[in-house]
């Protein structure tokens, strides 16, 4: 039977319109144009549903009728926000971001309008130092249970005994390979960079993100992912400049290119790796055996949040294991909460992309706060991009 012309389309008309509306509303940040694969929520205010009475738990405080959250692409189950709205009457506007730096820049400039946002572990101490986030009032978060959290992932949310942020998901930064195009098995960052200059010439993507691109170039030589040492950074720069002409793109928006077959190999976060592998089995996710990044994303509330009651209400809602498990299944990134893991089907917990073997996890490093604000790494990235 002849296939419909629609089957070959790179994007369905409906999805394109979705994308269009979302981009029209969103700011022009690089990952804002992400994810055709996405959940389609992005920068969309959820449509108003039937006026259901607020649940008793929220009745005490006036939550208003709308709030705004800043988060990552393909990171939430759209149904979560719909359900939250049905329960509380608060419509959630979702802003999608491409880097922690960008979130920080918006919050530093003031007036972001967010009542909840999703920073990564290594940025929290800087937010606290700058006085941008507020200590969480745990009385408003009865659904959070510190005892069920894995301390390895939650430590950076607590500063001097005060909780500033509670964890959402954790994950790793490895690389995705289209094994149909690149059949040679790979297991290290050294192979990633070498292949980028040979078999994957013109088909490799690296993040437009200094932390991971510089960090994984440092790994080529076995240096720390977070190194700020001049001589080590100089070596990483040398490698990056050598690889640059062979790259397909410097972009954190790699899912569309991997899906279309334009790119064969890319730096990749766990959740994207899981989504790509789920839809296109020949795309494998590899962790460099030298190490690399392990991360935890947290929820935090900005000091200037325009609707703190709703921010707390949504955060508490998201901390409910029954809600969090759906979020996890949608975005594919592992969860820090044992109560959530208990609800997960076995095949998810057995997925090596999500839960890598212990010996692969061991050498991974959490990003360090100093890399976020180090001007040296920022300038290196600028030289790499302009080369």
């Amino acid at each position: 039977m002849p296939k419909s012309y629609r089957d070959g389309l790179p994007i369905t008309p409906d999805k394109f319109v979705d994308q269009l509306m979302r981009l029209k509303r969103g700011s022009i940040s690089r990952r804002d144009f992400l994810g055709l694969t996405g959940l389609g929520v992005a920068t969309a205010v959820m449509a108003r549903e039937l006026g259901i009475m607020p649940a008793p738990a929220y009745a005490a405080e006036n939550l208003g009728d709308r709030m705004s959250i800043a988060t990552w692409p393909n990171y939430h189950d759209p149904q979560t926000f719909e359900n939250f709205k049905a329960e509380t009457g608060v419509a959630v506007e979702v802003n999608v971001f491409g880097s922690n730096e960008e979130m920080l820049a918006k919050l530093q400039a003031g007036g972001s309008g967010w009542s909840l946002f999703v920073p990564t572990n290594y940025t929290i101490s800087t937010y606290k130092k700058l006085g941008i986030i507020e200590p969480l009032d745990m009385a408003k978060l009865p659904n959070f249970d510190g005892k069920s959290e894995d301390v390895r992932f939650t430590a950076e949310g607590t500063i001097d005994g005060t909780i500033y942020a509670v964890p959402k998901n954790w994950g790793t930064t490895g690389f995705a390979v289209n094994t149909k195009k690149l059949s040679k098995p790979m297991s290290s960052w050294k192979e990633f960079w070498d292949t980028a200059m040979t078999e994957a010439d013109g088909r490799t993507m690296v993040h437009d993100y200094q932390l991971t691109t510089i960090g994984n170039a440092l790994k080529y030589y076995g240096y720390s992912f977070n190194s700020l040492k001049q001589d080590e950074l100089a070596k990483a720069e040398e490698l990056l400049l050598k690889v640059k002409p062979h790259l397909f793109a410097v972009s954190s928006d790699y899912q569309p290119s991997m899906r279309s077959g334009d790119a064969w190999m890319t730096m990749c976060w766990t959740n994207d790796g899981a989504q790509l592998h789920r839809d296109i089995p020949e795309i494998a996710y590899v962790l460099g055996k030298e190490g690399g990044e392990i991360w935890t994303d947290f929820y935090a509330i900005p000091k200037d949040a325009p609707n703190k009651p709703a921010g707390y209400a949504l955060l508490n809602y998201l901390m409910n294991p029954k809600v969090a498990v759906k979020e996890h299944l949608a975005n594919g990134a592992p969860c820090t909460d044992a109560r959530v893991n208990a609800l997960l089907p076995k095949e998810v917990l057995d997925n090596p992309i999500l839960y890598p073997a212990a010996d692969l996890l061991k050498p991974l490093e959490f990003g360090a706060a100093a890399t976020l604000t180090d001007p040296g790494r920022a300038e290196l990235m600028a030289r790499f991009k302009s080369a």
């Binding site: 790179p10 029209k24 820049a105 993507m205 990235m381 991009k385 302009s386």
Partner: protein, 314 residues
């Protein structure tokens, strides 16, 4: 606020003249006063707009540019020219921009001129309006959307997939300099076509007949008459596109895969990634100055050209 910076120019006050004309009974002096007031009121919104959204931000950026980056990023007050001294750190980005802007504008011109020529001199009258509309209508969609669409057209499941049917495999079109140039020509074409069209449309066709009567070949008529007379339009389109290209950021990012770094990209990174606002401000100020210089040069050239036209016509 608006009146302070306003110098009355009764001769140009069309609004004032109109109202004065409709009420001839007023004594002369009151009528002039009314005329001035009317002009001031008519200019007020534009002046207010410019002050609030152009002058004030510009002053803020100038102040930022002599400041320092705070340790965690952002701005911290200072009085230093260190940011300007650091400009060579973005020399490559400046250089890429200085190449892209004229080359992009030239490519745009080469595509736009034949179109404008056909529209103004060859197209049947009843088609002209429709054709013009067809050129302008895509402009109603945001540039972001139109550029994004090209990602799919040039991407692996777009044109390369079609070419694979005829045996050309693994061709890569997206994220190449050619894709960036294509995006630029496509994005800015109407800005180039319209001014050229206007100057060609006003062309006195008797001059073309005279040229032919005097024995000139079609080619030399085109070069000596048509092209020369349309040069002011060409210059307008050229400088319009070039100024916009000096700040271009979107097209190279989306169609060039972020591998080519222009000054617009440098600015975005400085404000949103490394949060070095003072350095970003210094670059912004420099870019504005460069744009002004380009405008002045373009203006000089087109004044000279239109001056030459007057001489020719006599």
């Amino acid at each position: 606020m608006s009146e302070t910076g306003y110098k009355p120019d009764p001769d140009n006050a069309t609004g004032g003249r109109k109202s004065a004309g409709s009420q001839p009974a007023f004594p002369m002096r009151r009528s002039i006063f009314r005329k001035n007031l009317m002009t001031a009121l008519l200019l007020a919104p534009a002046t207010l707009w410019l002050v609030v959204f152009l002058v004030l931000p510009f002053v803020a950026i100038a102040i930022f540019s002599v400041g320092e980056r705070a340790p965690e990023g952002g701005y911290q007050a200072a009085l230093t020219f260190a940011q300007y001294a650091n400009l060579p750190a973005r020399a490559t980005a400046f250089w890429n921009t200085m190449v892209l802007a004229p080359v992009g504008a030239l490519a745009c011109l080469l595509v736009a001129y034949p179109v404008a020529y056909y529209l103004a001199l060859r197209a049947p009258d009843r088609w002209r309006l429709i054709l013009l509309a067809l050129i302008v209508i895509p402009f109603w969609t945001s540039l972001l959307m139109r550029t994004y669409a090209w990602i799919y057209i040039l991407g692996g499941r777009g044109i390369p997939a079609l070419l694979a049917y005829v045996g050309i495999e693994d061709l890569r079109l997206i994220n190449t300099p050619g894709a960036v140039l294509l995006g630029i020509v496509y994005g800015y074409l109407p800005l180039m076509i319209l001014p050229i069209y206007v100057s060609l449309e006003r062309l006195d066709r008797r001059l073309l007949e005279a040229s032919a009567d005097l024995g000139a070949t079609p080619l030399s008529t085109f070069l000596g008459v048509t092209l020369r007379l349309s040069l002011p339009g060409v210059m307008t389109g050229f400088s319009l596109v070039m100024i916009l290209l000096l700040g271009e950021y979107l097209i190279p990012t989306l169609l060039g895969g972020g591998k080519v770094f222009f000054i617009g990209n440098a600015l975005v990174d400085l404000f949103l990634q490394s949060r070095n606002w003072p350095f970003g401000s210094a670059i912004a100020i420099t870019l504005v100055l460069v744009s002004v210089v380009v405008l002045i040069i373009a203006n000089r050239i087109s004044t000279r050209l239109s001056g030459a036209r007057r001489v020719d016509l006599i």
